[in-house]
Amino acid sequence: MSQDQRAATPAWLADEPLVIGEHAFTSRLFVGTGKYKDVAETRAALEISGTQCVTVAVRRVDLAAKGPSLLDAIDRTKVVILPNTAGCYDAASAIRTAELARDLLGTRLVKLEVLGDTKTLLPDPVGTLEATKELVAQGFHVLVYTSDDPRLGVRLEELGAVAVMPAGSPIGSGQGVLNPFAIRILLELVKVPVIVDAGVGTASDVAIAMELGAAGVLLNTGIASAREPLRMPAAMRDACSAGRQAFLAGRIPRKLYANASSPLEGLIHAAGRPGAT
């Protein structure tokens, strides 16, 4: 958000920036850069989404590749790059990948993923804990992809994670937030920012995560694989903002019975149906 836009925000919509490590973000939407048609589409989607932090992966260089590179899609004066360790199935390879990313980007940030298997892409909790400990010791600012297990989130925070990133549902599954109760408990127990990562299928999934009180949402496939990948980023951006404002505003409790919005006094007839209690 620019200085002008901030100044234009009325007091009743004011919000704190999300602070992670050395960075302060006014957008709470984190967007992945995978699966887009080309660099131009990536660049456009990121810009429309309003994101200030994007994830990237580290892979062997394609020696035959020609044309623009991913870095051409990202304006590093406006957007922070968060390298991930996607595709790592043990702590050692995740640590190597993080070291390569740090050397390449000169950033301390890393989104740690230590996955269990290629079919579910569920995080491996033991490898994730091991790698978190080592990367924190090496001075990384580690944002940890994890399951929605609240106690595991606490352990990651205790090890020094700068953010805990529970999966709403499996990566790329589009199932949304499957266990809002676990996310709520995790949010109560963990004091560092909690960013719901993975499983977002559509705008309402983002809103639900933000309404629960998540500090942010990270998504990729929900935009990149939408039928219109340049229409979805604005929907995700607005849902993130709507969900955040709804959380700050405080939703009403769910009640079993109705509660009339119109006055019950002053009716021209007797209130209620005869015999009703």
């Binding site: 995978g34 994830t55 992966a57 062997r60 020696l63 790059i81 390569l100 390449l104």
Partner: protein, 72 residues
């Protein structure tokens, strides 16, 4: 054919022949890659950008040259 003036390394999983005495930074040049767009490992260990010139490759080195790609 390998001679005293060439070495064989494994580059990103594939065999490759280089002139003996090639440093990591020279390899990046030979590959035509912008030096700040890649990171390099030799034998599973990072060779920091500041160490690329002095790290000379030797016969049998396993080299990984990585870059950033789209990811979530």
């Amino acid at each position: 054919m390998q001679t005293a003036t060439t070495i064989r390394i494994t580059l990103n999983g594939a065999p490759r022949e280089l002139r003996a005495g090639t440093s990591v930074s020279a390899l990046v040049d030979v590959l035509g890659l912008p030096p700040d767009s890649v990171a390099v490992e030799v034998g599973d260990r990072l060779v920091r950008r500041s160490d690329r010139t002095e790290r000379v490759l030797v016969d049998g080195d396993r080299v990984e040259v990585v870059t950033l790609v789209g990811g979530g």
